[in-house]
């Protein structure tokens, strides 16, 4: 089943095409790697899919809805979550509060109920507190639940960022370089988290700079270069392709 369908997606910054006529599909349950050299347009694709940037042309269909032009919050409410490369957490709040806030979309009561602490709001709060603790336990963040998010080490902040996104209970999670600048141990930790996320039934699109990581995690890979798709297939198919090698290593001079 196709969860996300992208068709002719194009974004111009001034005269420059950051993303050009991009087509790809994401099937429910898979991990799709989106790779490419620096400046290939991977993050721009994410911003277009999640409503943080406006596309110049093209269409994005998620769960049967044409979501092009929607606000980020509305796209999130439909079940498409994302993580960020840099600011990933609410620094002034504790780990627990971060993940509790991540459950924002699960709140069925309006703001009025929450402000005046009506009975239904209190019952709901109890339920969401329970779910927050559960998620923190599953993702191994329970020990730091009362720490200020800004005081956590980088690796844990990244993990918390993923946790916040998961709290929205998404169908599709877009991860923007979750292991950028991390140690081997931290990377292994994040890879385990990615597997666990998938076991929860969440489909994942992973932007990766690190080829090895992308090859290890993904079921299928889309390779971008200068905003255009140059290859698509399983990791085994991708590594052999001439275009991919050229994009990463440059064209041989003798040609």
């Amino acid at each position: 089943m196709i969860l996300l369908h992208v068709e002719g997606l194009t974004k111009y910054f001034g005269g420059l095409a950051a993303v050009k006529d991009l087509d790809f599909d994401v099937t429910k349950g898979e991990i799709l790697g989106l790779i490419g050299p620096n400046g290939a347009g991977k993050t721009t694709v994410f911003n277009l899919l999640t409503g943080f940037d406006r596309r110049s042309r093209g269409k994005v269909i998620f769960k049967g809805h044409d979501i092009t032009g929607w606000k980020p919050s509305r796209i999130a409410a439909l079940g498409l979550a994302r993580t960020f490369q840099i600011v990933n957490v609410f620094g002034n709040q504790t780990t627990y509060e971060n993940v509790r806030l991540g459950h924002y979309l699960q709140q069925r009561n309006g703001g009025f109920h929450s402000i005046f602490r009506t009975r239904s709001a209190r019952r709901e709060e109890e339920e969401l507190q329970h779910r927050t603790i559960e998620l923190l336990e599953r993702m191994g963040l329970i020990d730091v639940k009362d720490e200020l998010a800004s005081s956590l080490p980088q690796g844990l902040q990244r993990a918390l960022g993923i946790c916040i996104a998961l709290a929205t209970s998404p169908d599709l999670l877009l991860m923007d370089e979750p292991t950028a600048g991390m140690s081997a141990e931290e990377t292994a930790n994040i890879m385990a988290m990615i597997q666990q996320t998938r076991d929860m039934g969440v489909t994942i699109v992973l932007v990766e700079h690190n080829m090895k990581m992308a090859m290890g995690c993904s079921d299928r890979i889309v390779v971008l270069n200068f905003g255009e798709k140059i290859a698509e297939g399983t990791p085994e198919e991708i590594v052999g392709k001439e275009e991919v090698i050229e994009a990463y290593l440059g064209v041989r001079r003798s040609q």
């Binding site: 409503g51 980020p72 509305r74 999130a76 990933n88 402000i115 916040i164």
Partner: protein, 354 residues
């Protein structure tokens, strides 16, 4: 332990409420002191409601405009249409809220540009009043006192002295603080704080940042409008000169001096600056010098505001506080030369070792 803390807070609040309720008796109706309390109450409403906007990450310098809108709405409804004051009072809050909603929804800018627009909006409102004959232009508008509240066979409250106004503003302050406190401590407050910390991240988890900000702005304006509707009959006359940009800036002074990052900071700041203004010698021009000194001293020695004083004292000891802060603020070069001079004079190494 949490239970004990809550109960001690409750005790303090109950005592404070009792003292405030008995205040007119305690101060034997000294009109000047009572007036200062009323003005402090008004300042608390304006400063705390302005802070909630700041809590969402927006710097709002136009709160006085909604105060003016509230005041003029009340005066016009009472004097031109003969509406009962209490309806006019509520209508003033509603009108201020609606204008704020329209203003915030129409100005889709953020950050610095939003601040500039709010600042400009104060002037727009003031000049609109100044150039509209129906609003009294630059002349003062008279506002009669609120209609008496009569409970048959029991009592009648007539707004004849400052005491009645004192209790009126006490109730208004209490309602404002309770509502603002509940908002801030609820999940709505958590969402607002999330927006302030990172708008993209908040959006990515489904929080509609624009909608939250616009609604918060509007709710805060309601409180400013109600405060304005109180001020009109209390002052008996209002004119455009009451509603200048400077008045808006003073709200910010109160927030900064008290500590804008805490809920109680603006309350403390509002009360201290109002009392400073009323009880320091000299008036008019001196007032601004006091404000300047208070703000600079706060920024220099106590960046967290007066509300952070107990914490800072506890952490650094009352003696060490000033010198430690100075050390942090002084340029390294100056500090080094100071230390060197001290050592030359035979100062012991332990004090200058850092």
């Amino acid at each position: 332990m949490a239970v004990r803390r809550i109960s001690s807070t409750k005790v303090i609040l109950t005592l404070l409420a009792a003292v405030l309720l008995a205040m007119p008796v305690i101060i034997s109706q000294d009109p000047r002191l009572l007036h200062t309390f009323v003005m402090a109450g008004l300042a608390i409403i304006l400063a705390t409601s302005n802070r909630l906007v700041y809590f969402t990450g927006s710097v709002h310098f136009g709160h006085i405009a909604f105060y003016a809108i509230g005041a003029y709405t009340a005066v016009l409804l009472v004097t031109k249409l003969g509406v009962l004051f209490w309806f006019a009072f509520l209508a003033a809050g509603v009108v201020a809220g609606i204008v704020a909603l329209a203003f915030a929804a129409a100005t889709k800018v953020k950050g610095f540009y939003f601040t500039l627009l709010t600042l400009a909006f104060v002037e727009v409102v003031r000049l609109t009043i100044t150039f509209t004959p129906a609003l009294g232009a630059s002349r003062a508008m008279r506002c009669p006192p609120p209609n008496p509240i009569t409970i048959p066979h029991l009592f009648t409250i007539e707004f004849a002295t400052r005491v009645e106004y004192y209790y009126f503003i006490l109730v208004l302050v209490a309602i404002t603080l309770v509502v603002l406190y509940l908002i801030e401590k609820s999940q709505v407050g958590a969402a607002l704080s999330g927006i302030a910390q990172s708008e993209p991240l908040a959006e990515s988890i489904g929080i509609n940042a624009a909608r939250h900000k616009v609604l918060t702005f509007s709710i805060c304006a309601v409180f400013a409008g109600l405060a304005g509707a109180f001020y009109a009959p209390y002052a008996t006359v209002i004119g455009p000169s009451n509603f200048t940009i400077w008045a808006s800036v003073i709200i910010w002074f109160q927030m900064v001096v008290g500590g804008a990052d805490s809920f109680w900071g603006p309350v403390i700041g509002a009360v201290s600056l109002v009392f400073l203004r009323e009880f320091m010698p000299g008036t008019g021009a001196y007032e601004n010098i006091y404000y300047a000194v208070a703000v600079l001293a706060t920024l220099f020695f106590l960046p967290g505001g007066l509300v952070s004083l107990p914490r800072v004292v506890r952490q650094k000891g009352s003696k060490g506080m000033v010198s430690l802060r100075l050390r942090e603020r002084l340029p390294k070069r100056v500090l080094a030369s100071l230390v060197a001079r001290r050592e030359k004079q035979g100062g012991k190494g332990d004090t200058a070792s850092r």
